[in-house]
Each structure stands twice: as structure tokens, then as C-alpha cells.
Amino acid sequence: MATEFHNLQELRHSASLATKVFIQRDYSDGTICKFQTKFPAELDSRIERSLFEETVKTLNCYYAEAEKIGGQSYLEGCLACATAYIIFLCMETRYEKILKKISMFIQEQNEKIYAPRGLLLTDPIERGMRVIEISIFEDSGSTSSSSSGSSPSSSTAQ
């Protein structure tokens, strides 16, 4: 029986958490926040490789933009120094603004792509930016014991 969910609501009612997959950080470019795009084996039968890679690459782009060293970040830094850094108490930094965009993006991805496939992404900021946690749900009403039997067929609303 395919473990297919049409929305997050169904996920709540009939699913139980089977396992979690953790996407680790990729440090090949230094200490900037970047996640590995290697496709984990556990998701093999759940989601298309391209969708997953697209999600991780977009996240990496967002983080790269947040940590980008350029005109705007220097301006922010110099202004902060001139005001003895008090401005950080009043103003939301560019990094925080981009983190909000990332939350929205992850929420949207969960709703549109991952929940219909019985998966749930957790925002890395809630895990200290160490990992992207992907929770894999099983249909608790299903008699099949493993997720290998499910087919990641299209489940978008018609």
C-alpha cells in the first residue's frame, strides 16, 4: 500500500514517525553555511532526487546570500561600529531577514512537496544550523512494514 498523503492534516491524523534523516553540513568552502546535496538512501523511494537537490541548493543559496560579504554588509557593520553596536538592539539584521525568508520557503516546500510524500523538513535554525532534519512518516493504518513499497506518484491537487 502506498504511503501517500495529500496534505499535512492527513499526515497528522494517520501517520507515525518512522525515522529521521539528517543532511549534514558541507564544509568544503570553509565555515559558511552550506548543506550536502548528496541524496540519502532512505529517501530513495519517497521523493525524486531532483526535487530534493533543488530544495537543498535553494537553501544553500539563501544562506550564501545571508553571509555574503559585500557593500550592504560592510555598510551595516560600519554603521553598527559607529553607534557602538547599539543599533543591533533596534534593527533587524540582513541575516535575520533572510532567515525569515528561509522559514517561509521551508514551510512552502513542506506544504507543496514534502507532506504529500509523507516527509517533513525541519528548519535548520531549530537544529543549530547543524543539519537539515527530514522526518519520514509511515501511514500508521497501513499494513506494509516498510516504506519501500510506496511510489512517489504525483499527488498534487487537480
Partner: protein, 366 residues
Amino acid sequence: MKNCEYQQIDPRALGTSNTRTPTTLPCGRKNSQRLRRKWEVFPGNNRFYCDGRIMLASQCGVLPVTIGLIFITSGLFFTFDCPFLVDHLTVFIPVIGGVLFVFVVVTLLQTSFTDPGILPRALPDEAVDIERQIDNSGSSTYRPPPRTKEILINDQVVKLKYCFTCKMFRPPRTSHCSLCDNCVERFDHHCPWVGNCVGKRNYRFFYAFIVSLSFLTSFIFGCVITHLTLRSQIVNGIIQAIQQSPASVVEVVICFFSIWSILGLSGFHTYLVASNLTTNEDIKGSWSSKRGEESGNPYTHNSIFTNCCVVLCGPLPPSLIDRRGFLPPDDAPQAVTSDTELPPFIAKNDTNMEENCQEFANSCTA
């Protein structure tokens, strides 16, 4: 046709993760328990004030001494030296002194009260996953995870160490502070004078503090010497001048002894900033040229100006520990104090550790 509406669901109902929004209690459950914030169950050795807004290391060291010295010296300066200098020189002296003083105090407080870049500890699921990844042999006896993992950064081999307390492989440049019992990103050192670790998030405040303190100390020292010199010319004798203004001697002594260390420290940190190094790396000689020409700092931008800009004016990442977030009422102790709750995970001699980990992981995901 099923109506596939994508409705937002509260992830807490799935029991998967902690969220940052305040918890609303499930309906039908009357609970008068006060919701706790995450700082109350923080596993590190830190103290929190103002409901989590301000944090300090638990061993705040000599921070009161630092504050006391700055206030006393500046107070004496403004009270006893400034009136004379305003009369005989210029009114800008207390103005400059005031600006420097405010800058020093503000940057000191920011260094002390800001999260230096603490990494939250790995949750049990993650810890088990890491263990599973490295223990591929599938043997039943427990083998502690290898302590290092090698990665390539800018074509240079860097070793990542496994932190047994935080249960994760430390990112590059991260170190575990034994005084605060936390892993801190871009760990520089634990400064007893400011009572906190100096790391990625508060290094710029620390640098601004020591540089402005050097200026303040030198400025006060210079002004007091000028004051005593001018006064001794008026009263024809240095002894009489000192008798008229004994506070100045106190200031001279404090400044004289401070200047050497503060100026030295500022110079040292200027060198570190220009080469994008941390005190920790410099002391350990991680990238010293003695080890061969291949070994160079992989994080440097190879330009003093760029390094300075990046370290001091780069984007400031937010705090990862979310101290003012609310704990979900159900799994409050489980997620955060995993190190105390896990059975002998810390003890390395336990041969049944792997079984315990598996059991614990199963109970987490149940």
C-alpha cells in the same frame, strides 16, 4: 475528488520538533503550569538574567573588577582632572573622554552579555544517527565514535573533532569551552576580564572594547600627566602638585599598569584580525609555517583589508540557542537535557552503550 487543501499544521502535534512560537496548550487540557523558556533548561554553564535576554558565563571571573576599575579611573578623571584641564586647556578634553568612556562601557557590556556563538547540543536522534553512520561494522560491542573526521577546505586538510559533551562533530574553528561547557563557533578564548567566551558573535565587540580601552587609558594617562605637569609649574614643585591632587596619582598608577597589557592585547588582536586567525589557532600553531609550506590558514582572504572587513564588518549571525523560546510542555526535559538523561553515554567504558542508544532512540521516536 478529494479536496486537497494544503493547510498549515502545527508541527508540535506531530511530536517532531521544538518550535520557536509560544505553545498553545491542546484543547481539553486545563493546565495551570507556567510555560518554561528554553534558557531555564539550558545545559551549559551559563547564567541568564532578564528572562533570558542577558547571558553570562557562570564563572564571570573578574568582570566586576574590570567594570570597577574603568568606572573608578574615569570617575576620578572627570572629577579631579577635568576641571583644571578645562580651565587651562580646552573643553574638548572631557568631551573626548566622555565619548571614549561611553564607547568602552557599551562595548564591554555587549561583549559580556552577548551569546558568543554557542552551538546547541545535538538532540538524541541526531547523536544516534551520527553514531550509526560511523559504526558501520555492525558489531555488538560498543566502540566509541572516532574522534576525528577529515575534510578539505580550500584544498587543505582540516580535522573535525567529535565533541563527547555536545555529541556532534564540531564545525571547523569551533572549540569546546570547558569553563562554560559549550561548543562555541570561531572560538577565540574565554576572557575572565569580560566574564564570557569570545567567539564568532561577539569578537567584534571585544575588539572594539580593547581598542577603545587602549585609547581611553592612553588618553587619561596623557591628560593626567599634563595636569600634574601644568600644576607643578604653577605651584613650583611636583610634590605640592601631588598633594593638591592625590587622585591623579591613583589614576597614573592604574593607567600605567593597564596600558602595557591593553596595548599589547590590542596589537595582538589587530594581527589576528588582519590574518583572520583566532587566539586558539595561534596558540596551538594550527596553521604555522613550521609544519611545511602546504599548511597555511585556509580561511584567510589573502588581503589584510579584506580580512579586517570580513572579521569586523561581516554579517552578524543570529544566536542559535533561542533562549527566550518556549518549551513544549510534553518533551521539555527530553530534547534539551539529553546529556543528563541518556544512560552512560558519556562514560566510555560501558559496553552496552550501543544497545542503550538504540533503546533510547526508539523511545524518542515512539
